[in-house]
Amino acid sequence: MSTSVKAPVLRRKKPLRLRAGSAALTTITWVITLGFFFPVAWMVFTSFKTEKAAATFPPTFVTELTLDNFTKVLDRGFGDYLLNSLMASLGSTLIVLVLAIPAAYALSIRPIFKATDALFFFISTRFMPIAAAIIPIYLLLQTMGLLDNISALSVLYVGMNLPLAVWMMRSFFSEVPLEIVEAAQIDGAKFFTELFRVVMPLVAPGIAAAGLICFIFSWNEYFLANLLTSTYARTTPPFLGSFVDGRGQFLAVLSAAATLAVLPVVIAGWAAQKRLVRGLAMGAIK
């Protein structure tokens, strides 16, 4: 990490032994990396195989590729489940942002009495096992006829993700120089002007990162979705979970379904990884 300006000069002088060591470390790193990534790569590869090729042992690395599995999965109504997941995740993320932005703003830029207490309260609600709250929630939704309802699921995801979003955003908001806010106030900016015109543009990347993490957690959530939805509002994870009945050949179709299910989040996560990393690490550290 110690990259000073002189580094290249120093590196050229490195003895052969050190350079060999460095190459060995790089090789080790890549072997481990590819090992970690292998299950994902294999899933994608299998999703293009025929069922027969997918069930061959020893595995075939060269085989004819097909799109049949994706067609089959979509024919089984997989698109509806993906759409349900999208609605629940997007809906809850939007509500989280609407609630978390003002809260994070209040906690970082306008510190109030017991700001730390409020913050720890938020964090600790995230620590509570959801199992401890699920029975009353289930019974209440059942009484109200809201089981198998996307909106009800979204509200629960809001409760699940809100603390995390506030926590992450607060650390981004705290980096806004107070002078800028004060200058805006002196210039006579009303509160909403100050928030939307001055502060939010500065923290937009942080807000995006927090929103993305909330989206990912909602998209991947299994426990609540499995219990609280059945037919109309079923999301992708519980459908995947019930996908395999253990009979016949299914590995290629399963891989196709899993590939479709993880694709949106993985691509979004890759695209935004710098912010994601910073958001997670800072949310965790600060």
Binding site: M1, S4, L25, T26, T29, W30, T33, F36, F37, P39, V40, M43, T46, F57, P58, P59, A100, P102, A103, A106, L107, R110, F113, T116, F120, S124, T125, F127, M128, P129, A131, A132, A133, I134, I135, L139, V155, L156, G159, M160, L162, F191, W219, N220, Y222, P237, G241, S255, A258, V262, V265, V266, G269, W270, Q273, V277, R278, L280, M282, I285
Partner: protein, 325 residues
Amino acid sequence: MTATLAESATPESGTPDLAPKRSRNKQKLVLSTSQRKGLRLSRALLWPALIVSIAVTQVPFLVTIFYSFQKWNLLRPGQREFAWFDNYVTVFTGGEFLSSLLATVVITGTSVVLSVVFGLILAVLLDRKFVGQGLARTLLITPFLMMPAAAALIWKWSMLDANVGMVNWGLSLIGLDAVQWNTNFPALTVIMVLTWQYTPFMMLILLAGLQSQPGEVLEAASVDGAGPVRRFFTMTLPHLRQYIELATLLGGIMLLQVFDPIAIMTRGTGGTKTLSYLLYERAFVGLEIGEAAAYGVITVLLTIIVATVALRLLFKIFSNEGTRS
């Protein structure tokens, strides 16, 4: 849960930099009109998030405590009555609790330790310039982004399957016999999947820690003749300590509630029936609301204990280091 954790956590964590702020607030009890207005605005901004949070998580937990004192099976709705601690007695004498606690400790503990260790190794390996550094990091964070349900299925049927699994194929290449992973080592299969999923998370936190280390100090040590191994153990590791502890705490809390791989891969068989899975079974298969609620309360109490002990250790170390420097 909340109140205890917040109260126990705040004093320690607040000591170094937040306590002065609070006493300053106390001195400023006489506020000007504009300050008063600002305070009211701040509270107004905070309340909506607080209320939603309380309504969705805290209120149901209070109701769970209430349910845990009731004799209540959904199959016999007419016979609901107040039963004091009967459910807790059932839980502790029923025989499933201890094995379930053991399963939780084994699965959570092993997965956390393994993913922190692998995360540390990967973070150190990634924290140097090499060909394709960015791509390697991108590939390494992918397991963390994978939907847990998809990951559990792929591992169960594609990686660890006894007949066509890639892991057994790998073993056969080096001359080892096929292993019936899911049948004979259910806890191990769950731990493998969890470790694979959480290692990237640990790696990200630890990598942030490594990159926050001032380079000049390391360079100075290197000039003074300290080798890379010595530098790592005497300087980098102590610097990383708080990051390691934080990763352990967060990982522990997340993994304590783990459910998906167990529901999908083993259905609680063979020493994988963790507390949260047992609660699910009691409530939604056995329809024993009171007993399941008691499990919920116990799970929360255990989480509080783990989190409080961990936080205390964590912040004691923080403040010690604060006074030393």
